[in-house]
Amino acid sequence: MDKALLIQLGGSVVAVALLVAFAAWLGVARPTPPLDAQAARDLLAVEFPDHTPSAVWIAADGVGLIARAKNQALVIWRRGDSYVAREAAWSEVSGLQPRRGRISIRLGDGRPVFAVADDVWPPKELV
């Protein structure tokens, strides 16, 4: 690789780092307040429009939710300032063990962590 190309590449790396730092400093992310019942319903309607959840549990820290639709668990969690949705088998989700007030679910490419009140799982809302 010639020298000019290496210099150009190095300069580009520095420019990217500076731009990211600038975005971190002054960029305005979307507001993502802790979920409440209405926000949870809205998210479910957008992410799972063909499901009819029978029960919804919102994590104690408000960063995500788990809804139950028959034998499926509909999981939504915050990633950055957006949300990610995945389905899982309710049997797997209900069998999770909370540790230090949190449960962690492995869902393919994501591993959301939810705060659980009183280390009780599954919560009464979903049973």
Binding site: L19, A23, P49, D50, D81, R111
Partner: protein
Amino acid sequence: MLTAPFDPVQLAIPFFVLAIVLEILLGRFGKAKANYETRDTAMSLTMGLGSTVAGILLGGVVFAATVWVWNHRIFTIPMTAVWAWVALFLLEDLTYYWFHRIAHERRFWWASHVNHHTSTHYNLSTALRQTWTGGVAGTWLLWLPLSFIGFPPAMVAIQKGVSLVYQFWIHTEAIKRMPAWFEAVFNTPSHHRVHHARNARYLDANYAGILIIWDRLFGTFIPETDEEPCRYGTVKNLGNFNLLHNVFHEWAGIGRDVAAAKSPREVIGYVFGPPGWSPDGSRDTSQMLKAKWRAREAAASRAAAAAKAPLPGGSPASHAGT
């Protein structure tokens, strides 16, 4: 005739940087709609940088193939003729439309293009979230016929660069609508927002590069509506901010599906079928998602009409109040 005397993309890089800075500032001071999330921005800009490196690594192969094709050209088109530039502008843009359409509607090419769509934001940094694997996927082959007709490789390279630079500024929410005549002919922020949207009603639409006329011509145009704002990203948003996962996740998905395929037909379907194809229809393609959305809309319309219809022995208003 073979190598371009200048690269429009290289020349535009300072403008890209300044425009992103300006957009961030406009968002910060509430002068325009512009959201930036740090890890999302980092991913977009790193993808852009990596894409340049990937382009350099494969550039020799692409260049050699282009020159070989041009050496077997039908005509010799002069680089100095205005008509030649006009013709190339239209033909290159048409080529881009079909490349882009295939890149969305066939999984093999979607695997290399999907990472441009994984941002849940729509800002100028998203424009730089470019592919690393497009060269390997062979999408550049679609441009070879231009050189075979007789357009010099340098001319084609410049026009491709112009198209890429044009498409930078349309990745923004800061501009709502352009004048009507402009919206009718050119690709605009509004049209391209629809293209990046994950709402079922907007899927697989507005593939244009510079001219939106191709979408109008081939029936893939969908206008942005105020009643349903665009939500950005992919149908199934990524579950993490891992750069390599963003680059390779769909390729890995193809690999897993092919490994589990039970017949050659399934292999072909998984590789060259539309994204979301499955032998038993258990996954959703864009068409299936749109069909479900249409069904929901129709059901909602029927329900609304039924609610408005007068009921025997009472008015709709009295019914609604019960």
